[in-house]
Symmetry: C2
Subunit: 435 residues, 2 copies
Amino acid sequence: MPEAHSPASSLETSAVQTRKSRSARHLRIAIFGFGTVGSSVARILVESKPRGLELTHVFNRGVARKRVDWAPASVVWSEDADAVLASDVDVVVELVGGLDPAGTWARRALEAGKSFVTANKKLIAYHGVELERLAAAKGGHLKYGAAVAGGIPVIPGLEQGMAGDRIERIEGILNGTCNFILSKMEEGAEYASMLAEAQAKGYAEADPTEDVGGFDARAKLAILMRLALRVQIDPEEIVPRPITTITPVDFSYARDLGCTIRQVSRAEQAEGRLAATVGPMLVALRSPLAWSQGMENMVIATGHYGGDVVFSGHGAGGHPTAVAVVSDLLALAHGSQRVEIPSSPARVGAEFEVPHYIRFLVRDRPGIVAAITTELAKEQINIRAIVQRAGFPADALPFVVTVEPCKTSALQRALTPIRTMDCMLVEPLDLQMLE
Amino acid sequence: MPEAHSPASSLETSAVQTRKSRSARHLRIAIFGFGTVGSSVARILVESKPRGLELTHVFNRGVARKRVDWAPASVVWSEDADAVLASDVDVVVELVGGLDPAGTWARRALEAGKSFVTANKKLIAYHGVELERLAAAKGGHLKYGAAVAGGIPVIPGLEQGMAGDRIERIEGILNGTCNFILSKMEEGAEYASMLAEAQAKGYAEADPTEDVGGFDARAKLAILMRLALRVQIDPEEIVPRPITTITPVDFSYARDLGCTIRQVSRAEQAEGRLAATVGPMLVALRSPLAWSQGMENMVIATGHYGGDVVFSGHGAGGHPTAVAVVSDLLALAHGSQRVEIPSSPARVGAEFEVPHYIRFLVRDRPGIVAAITTELAKEQINIRAIVQRAGFPADALPFVVTVEPCKTSALQRALTPIRTMDCMLVEPLDLQMLE
């Protein structure tokens, strides 16, 4: 590859340079998918002119309507993916999402020795290991800094800055849509109207299952687990819990307990046991996880040596995600090798040992608390508090039991007979409490 | 260099590996300075056995008393810096601090084509550009991930994950000692007793000027400015303000305003104007800067495209700092090139446009507020609020004026005649308010 001969640019002022790059390569770049993120990547490449990065191709179905007047005339606009993949581009930037055809493009690009940069969490969660092997075998690179927490540099942080630690736990707010809905519910809004607002703002899809069901966050957690906990897992082994079961009364009770509710993705490795879960949880108002408002994302990595490190910022959106993509492209142009973090295949369970919040909705009658606490006692689960606000009707009475740290499995065993008690109007809601 | 043939280790489980590293080199490492951080680096190298990293030499004055029984017998313990620099080590890890002799060691190591890894913020703030040029010329590398915010991967975050953005502002809590003292004062403690406690705990030196005067934070800010704002500055051009002028009454007034007080380092680049400052400031209780408690550090980088990214964690201490050092060593072993962030020499001013908190301590008499507000009005500075709590004696009355965003220089002009008013018992305290 020739050295870059770029014009003076805003990323590279015309004043005296510190020194010439030792390794900046000139890269010809194809963007696959010219939606919000794709056009934002193009915009940064055109405006900032980072040295060594040249946008040469854009692929999109029906590309004519995507064409923009601010892109260089030299850019080839195409709806023929095969032709672009067969061209002389050095890097394919995939921003379409989903397993197919993104996976096919990735394999073809890497097979041809090109590099592949993507924001596709699903592709990386399910096929990242295979694609990295392919990249290594063919001399290209796979980069996916935008796949988790968009503009927050958590992947380089883990790969570079925390590589020297042994990370024991990872917790995150990884889905902006859920965080938007839950942080609005914290202020008193209803789930359905906030989902509708998120859809109207383009934060949530018409079918919101990927987001609110926890599947999007699960894919991101699987990626973080590989980098942080160094395990290769099958994402399907994590069973996410939806946020749809959360009601306004849970936020009132949470507040009484000094907490709020967030969709949290967490995984930990302790004493050879690997556990991961995604779902709504109670988080202390004073904890970093409660700081995240709206579409913000957050990741907390707990190192054996370095303790907690918190990363937070805008997890999604065109510009923040595009910054992560362009940063990956710059790393390729500068020949930046990532620190190889070895990882091994592992099975993942769901066994944690934490306090829990359990909310019941019952038709009131004498003996309910006695019956519930008896079942908990059989599993050696200690009650921490029983909380019941005044003012609810006796025929639909919500109340809460919190318990001291106990194994997830023990709680589930205790809840089995409780679920079928005739006074229960809905399934009891059990949430992990993070302190 | 030969490929590493390391034994099975905890960082590299014995199970199936994803793939072999393409570039892991075997590095012989000398640690200069075997204090808290140095012994923690050695501990991680010995315990975790990261592939490719071998501790071969330790240099310390009076090294005999430093010797530990858990290090490999092959380690050479030396009090002859010249001999270690002349040896076949590949990397010198400098953890002594200060400009000399650390600078001499750095030049000699780099001159010989070795790499140099350091936690020395002062050396990097004053001589980083020169040392990077030398490293580039001789084929070695300079790494200083531990120099700012210890265990928080803010340097790789800026270099790798945010390289694609244009960062416009950087704010940070960069000195753990000041944060410890101020967050304790927030809870009601007195400055002097908290300084004594910080000294007793080993957080602060016998002469605390570097910390409480803002000089330590200034060096770190200068380093962040190079990476984030891409400017090479003379750190001496930033005039830090000490935290010693803060009194308990300032915390009460701050709380009335929904704020607390932290030592903040901040720099911004707007409309071709570069400004930087270090000192105590009012920060909104709801803002990330107020989250930092005790010895924690935090950095907030504001990107033109990606918005705010927050990094937080343990900024100092043996283990967190050591993690950053070992991560740098791993990056060297893996041939990781940093993304070259070009930077240019620049002059730095102190002109911000923000709201201010001004606390006066006066011998009360009629007309003081009128006189102060008249001077402010002459500079077109708008009053936001005048706050005076009941219960203070008239002969030593503290009260506060807050003003709408105004230029630092205008406020200083207005304060000049106010300072000499006969009712003033102490210098008025003006603090930036960050919202």
